[in-house]
Amino acid sequence: MSPPNLHLYVLAAPLLTAFAVNLLGRVSRAWIGPLALGALGFSTLGALLTLLRVLRDGGYRYTVGNWQPPFGIELVVDPLSALMLLLVSAVALLATFSALKSVVNELPGQEHLFFTLYLILIAGLLGLVLTGDAFNLYVLLEITSITTYGLIAMGKGRAALSSFNYIIMGSIGACFYLLGVGYLYILTGTLNMADIARILPGLAAPAAVATAFAFLMVGLWVKMAFFPLHGWLPNAYSHAPTGAGVMIAPLMTKVTIYLMIRVMFSIFSPDYTFFAHPGVQAGIVWAASLAILCSSALALAQRNLRRMLTYILLAEVGYMVGGVWLANGSGMTGAVLHIVNDALMTLCLFLAAAAIIYRTGSLDFDRLQGLYRRMPLTMAAFTVGAFSLIGVPPTCGFFSKWYLILGAVEAGHWEFVAALLASSLINAVLFFRIIETAYFNPAPDAADSVPLRSEEAPALLLNPLLVTAVALVAVGLGTGPLVENVIRLALPPGFAP
């Protein structure tokens, strides 16, 4: 029998280990790996048990330190947050294997500092998923952001400048969120999400509520790099150390989208969000469609694999924002399913990129020749990830895209359908270009006399990649049960398909 505060252990494990890593990592590098992997393994197991318990007994609320809400800070464990808890800890665990290897390579002597920030970031993400308090959410948002600034600045070359620009943009986003919370506090006198949701419908101050909603949304959009507000992301994510990018890229944007869903449905109601201001809902779906098209077009212009992936990440943000704002069951199912799938797909491709850069030292397109001969397993996993992003069945990317298109058709948003299809086509062009270079063009130095040898990445980089690639297919094949048993419960009432 698991203890009632199991989810707190999930949160505490990486946080406390972060300090242990800092202290013991100074003594010996050998401590870092077991500590980080142990803490995240523990978190993943705890998150799995939490999810199983929530599915069996239903969601629950937990007050930390027995300070009763609305005064105390409340943690909310419902099917959606339990699913996100498992996703964050599992993706972080897989990414850590790869980070351990590449950090030794890229930042020798700074491993303990890197992993201190890394684990605090994961703890912050897990906290964001759990919290039921609007101001606590701001604090955790800044914890994740500050650690991310630090991690990105540890990269080489332009990393410091990219990190500084991210600080400026990230602070604008966080301040907007804080302002929105301020307006809500003036209106309701409380910071507990459930309490705000209870008081808001009875208020007769539509302009102030709309202002609060707008500030919260724009703040989160800056943080998730929703298209016109995306300027900081490509630089920051492509200059970060490889080990940091592998974990930040799949998780940060996804968790922020989860936060948007929380604000839309736990603080405000679906009725308010979608129907109080006619035109807003349709406008945002249009903006998401534009975001998808523009980001995909920009991805076409890139000459570096990791940079191209960051632009694809921007397009995926458009998928999920648009999906949620379609305001129907299929669209929202697609969006939540896509959070899971996209975290795995991005993880798969960034892990593959980490493996390639470990062996070849470069991710420029003209350096990728002959990779299928040199690193067959890595490139096989890369291909699975690429197919998933394009949306080839039976990989999971196909199913979430299917739900999204279904939702868009139901809602009559044909521009979103067109954007999704166009983005799939562009993804196909992007990845087949890479696959062609890497498969058909011989490696420059191995062209004539040198026998082709396999230079597979080391096991620490390769195995998590293969696990992720298998997970992409497994989640794809298991979409039916996943939607039926978990995601259907996670949607706001009235929107479950």
Binding site: F135, Y138, V139, E142, S145, I146, Y149, G150, A153, G157, R158, A160, L161, S163, F164, I167, I168, S171, I172, A174, C175, L178, L179, G182, Y185, I186, L191
Partner: protein
């Protein structure tokens, strides 16, 4: 016009924070010197902190320190004390703002060592070469 003026005078604290915020926002977006951008960010955050602090103020309200015995027996007259919660929240926000500034300054030091300047245009020029 008179109505607008009356509106501004009645809520001058909020107008002040809007002006401060816009100054900070302009410095963050418009200035090309990285230190000025950082200062702009600080002004922006301070404006929000002032906004929160002014939420809690009441006309004629005293500091929210009350005698425990009196509060337990007679209760607290909420009109007599200002609301302390926004102030406490802002302690946290100040901590956040200080940490962000600290990280940003550390990064600026690194940038200066790397490029010998803190003008964004000059840095970009040096990267381009």
């Amino acid at each position: 016009m008179e109505q607008l003026l009356a509106e501004i005078v009645a809520k001058y604290n909020y107008w002040l924070y809007v002006v401060l915020m816009m100054i900070g926002f302009y410095a963050m977006i418009g200035k090309r010197n990285l230190v000025k951008k950082l200062l702009g960010m600080n002004i922006f955050q301070t404006a929000i902190i002032l906004f929160y602090v002014s939420i809690g103020v009441k006309r004629g309200g005293g500091i929210p320190i009350v005698d425990k015995h009196a509060a337990l027996t007679q209760g607290v007259d909420v009109a007599q004390v200002v609301n302390p919660l926004p102030h406490v929240l802002m302690l946290t926000a100040i901590v956040v703002s200080v940490s962000v500034t600290g990280v940003a300054l550390a990064i600026l030091v690194r940038l200066y060592r790397q490029y010998g300047t803190l003008e964004e245009d000059e840095i970009l020029e040096k990267i381009g070469r």
